[in-house]
């Protein structure tokens, strides 16, 4: 199997190189698909696991925490295997024999991987709710986070004055936070995080 060095992974992920990502997909997804299907999973579940593993690796690279102590083949296989075992445990799916189709190691940073996984799921959930806000609310929050003053924001978005813009920003943010807190998916993530 084609292998990728640590340097190639970092370069490919940071540049979001299409050809690199395409090869990453073509090289590793078939093996992960076989692993999941061999062990009571479906192709869709295999894709979810593979994606989640890639998000973890991507986040590690972004945060300068990515370090290979084995081959990349073994690393990605081990992460997917660990995540699938978690999934089976969480859904109480009992399997008499786990069938492997690749080499794996015991990950030394299992708890980091689990934490990163939850953070990534939260990230997508937060963005999903943010994207559901109306256009003006989104723009208002974005401009505020880009550190524009309320005077500038008021001018750009046609609020009467800075105070009005500030009040609107507070209401938008509050709406976003309430929607997130009331989302059962968020509650589930919190429970999972607390159980770890």
């Amino acid at each position: 199997m084609t292998n990728f060095s640590e340097k190639e992974i970092i370069k490919g992920l940071l540049s979001n190189d299409d050809i690199f990502l395409n090869n990453l997909y073509e090289t590793f997804f078939p093996v992960i698909k076989r692993l999941i299907k061999n062990n009571s999973g479906t192709e869709t579940e295999a894709w979810d696991i593979f994606q989640d593993a890639l998000y973890i690796i991507f986040s590690k690279v972004k945060n300068n925490k990515f370090e290979l102590t084995c081959s990349f083949n073994t690393y990605i296989y081990s992460i997917c295997r660990h995540m699938w075992l978690n999934h089976l445990r969480k859904h109480r799916i009992k399997k008499t024999e786990f069938i492997d189709c690749g080499i794996f190691i015991k990950l030394t940073d299992e708890s980091d991987i689990d934490k990163e996984h939850i953070l990534n799921l939260e990230y997508f959930l937060f963005r999903e709710h943010f994207n559901k806000l109306d256009r003006k609310c989104k723009k208002l929050i974005e401009l505020f986070l880009k550190e524009l003053s309320f005077n500038e924001i008021a001018k750009m978005l046609n609020y009467k004055n800075a105070l009005d813009a500030r009040r609107a920003k507070y209401l938008c943010k509050n709406l976003l936070i309430n929607r997130i807190k009331n989302d059962p998916k968020y509650k589930e993530l919190q429970n999972y995080e607390n159980s770890k």
Partner: protein, 252 residues
């Protein structure tokens, strides 16, 4: 409700660094002791972080696009093929019916020829539309060559790839598309060389494709022993073409 709102207002003020003096001191003291408040502040920060940083979201979009391209390419390919080649398809169906009838008539178990197997498995590699991070010195020639390749003008594509190699022989993607263009024009010895260049270069991006197409070249020119060896090599690597190679070997 009012208390909750006041509480949120205070958090908002703190997050936005708008608290000063006694108010700030009181809030920070409360923060040290109140784990719920601490968690709330963390949530606010995480939400802001998710809004500002779109790196992971862009990455997610890219890999999902790749996955969709792979899962839908089989269907698209079939649809395009039917649309473009309806007459060929009708002819092919008639030939197929005659072939089946002949098989039944002669009642023998004749094996498929290498050429028949080749035509079952050979299809040009689809070009990747977006740009790679790899640099290339003469982008215009490369783009024109790819354009011709996409339009099935393989002879013109070969000319352009040759021009490109005179100036820059390091771009491995060009060797892949040149090799396939050479296969399309029945120049298998040159196609083999093109794929060997990628393999000798041990190029991680294109080695799997090069190995697969090299195997097909061997098959087409009846180097059956070499083809078998090549497909077994592909199987042992457990890569993208593993299943195709297994299937093909069963037919040989």
């Amino acid at each position: 409700m009012k208390t909750q709102n006041n509480y949120n207002k205070l958090i908002d003020k703190y997050i936005n660094s708008e608290m000063t003096g006694d108010e700030l001191e009181l809030f920070e003291n409360e923060l040290k002791m109140n784990s719920r408040l601490k968690a709330e502040i963390e949530l606010y920060k995480k939400i802001d972080h998710a809004i500002i940083n779109d790196g992971l979201a862009n990455f997610n979009k890219k890999i999902n696009d790749i996955h969709s391209e792979h899962t839908s390419s089989k269907v698209d390919h079939k649809t395009n093929f039917i649309q473009k080649n309806i007459y060929y398809l009708v002819a092919a169906i008639i030939i197929l019916i005659i072939a089946i009838a002949s098989i039944i008539y002669f009642s023998n178990n004749k094996k498929l020829s290498n050429t028949e197997i080749y035509s079952m498995y050979f299809k040009p590699y689809e070009t990747i539309k977006k740009r790679s991070a790899e640099t290339i010195t003469n982008d215009d020639i490369y783009k024109e060559a790819l354009h011709n390749y996409d339009k099935s003008n393989y002879s013109r594509a070969i000319e352009l790839f040759s021009q490109l190699f005179e100036q820059d022989d390091s771009y491995m993607a060009a060797y892949l598309y040149a090799g396939i263009s050479l296969m399309e024009t029945n120049n298998f010895p040159e196609a083999e060389k093109s794929f060997q260049t990628i393999i000798n270069n041990n190029n991680i991006y294109y080695i799997q494709q090069a190995e697969w197409y090299l195997g097909l070249c061997y098959l087409k020119v009846n180097k059956t022993k070499k083809a078998k060896k090549q497909f077994n090599k592909i199987i042992s690597r457990h890569g993208f073409y593993e299943n195709n190679a297994k299937e093909l070997l069963n037919k040989l």
